[in-house]
């Protein structure tokens, strides 16, 4: 089990941090913030990768930007606002909840609800059909089953 966890950790870490350069921070908290941010911010060139995983030129520049801002004492919101002001909500892997992103957030729950309704209807109908055997049919069924 331990070996499995270790293997998994190695797999995950190499997937997210394989390509990027090392950045020095004067404070481990800043380092942690930096890693959290580049994990949550999207690279706009290779749109299914975050900044941490992308080796696109733009991702490199945006990492540099984040690094500089954090080194100068910027907080999480400051860096995020900076990116959103320039690149829009799309730069966030966790977009804010607002009218334009309503479907994105509510959609999955909506589909789950539709699915549940369908399941309930189908199973009710099935239950109703099961009781619909007449006495003759029941006798016939028993005969066929060899009772």
């Amino acid at each position: 089990m331990r070996a499995f966890i270790l293997a998994w950790a190695l797999l995950v870490s190499s997937a997210s941090y394989a390509v990027i350069e090392v950045r020095e921070f004067d404070d481990p908290d800043k380092q942690a913030l930096y890693e959290e941010l580049i994990d949550e911010l999207r690279c706009l060139v290779c749109q299914n990768q975050n900044l941490a995983a992308s080796n696109a030129d733009l991702a490199k520049d945006l990492r540099r930007q984040a690094h500089e801002m954090i080194q100068q004492g910027a907080g999480k919101d400051e860096v995020i606002d900076y990116m959103v002001d320039r690149y829009g909500d799309f730069v966030l892997y966790r977009p804010p909840f607002k009218p334009t992103t309503l479907l994105l957030w509510v959609g999955p729950a909506l589909f789950l609800a539709i699915g549940l309704v369908v399941v309930v209807i189908v199973s009710r109908r099935r239950a109703a059909n099961e009781e619909a055997l007449s006495d003759d049919e029941r006798r016939e069924a028993r005969r066929l089953l060899g009772d």
Partner: protein, 180 residues
């Protein structure tokens, strides 16, 4: 309606709706991310000019004018593609086109302009891409239209083609020039 019919038409109908939604999705370009900078003040910058590196250009110099900022680079294939289209725009003499030479080597950039023709009013060098980030640039070429008050009024992402030029860019610039 007989229940059997519903059993056939309901999934068929759902399939058609799903197919239509996905078909619309296929025609959209995921690279076109709406820019939050449209209708906001253009980020100011001051950069050295490509041909006169000792001279600086500042966005302040364009105050009171309608102008176009085109982000380009010699390594950018789409820029080559749109070059003759923008040449056409320059020929119309509606507004000065300023080139933001993005993450490029100056010698390559000058060579590129010598080969293809230089319609830019002037180009400036953004060698490390910082001004690009400030303008929310994520794919070259990109073209911005800025009004007299220094507000970004339109952004075109990717190479400008003739339909975009005649149907969108030129009318937009004309209306801004007429605006006081």
């Amino acid at each position: 309606m007989k229940p059997g019919k519903l059993k056939f038409w309901l999934p068929a109908g759902l399939f058609v709706i799903l197919a239509a939604v996905l078909a619309i999705g296929l025609t959209l370009d995921p690279r076109r991310v709406p820019s939050p900078l449209v209708d906001k003040p253009a980020p100011s910058f001051q950069l050295a000019r490509l041909w006169e590196p000792d001279t600086q250009f500042s966005t302040e110099d364009m105050r009171g004018k309608v102008w176009v900022l085109n982000v380009w680079a010699s390594w950018c294939v789409g820029c080559r593609e749109e070059h003759e289209v923008l040449q056409q725009l320059a020929n119309e003499n509606l507004a000065p086109i300023v080139g933001l030479n993005y993450k490029d080597k100056p010698e390559n950039a000058r060579q590129w302009l010598n080969d293809l023709g230089n319609f830019f009013e002037l180009s400036v060098m953004d060698r490390d891409g910082r001004v690009g980030i400030d303008w929310g640039v994520y794919g070259v070429p990109e073209t911005f239209i800025i009004d007299r008050q220094g507000i970004i009024r339109y952004k075109h992402i990717g190479p400008v083609d003739y339909p975009a030029l005649t149907q969108t860019l030129i009318p937009k610039i004309k209306s801004l020039v007429e605006e006081s």
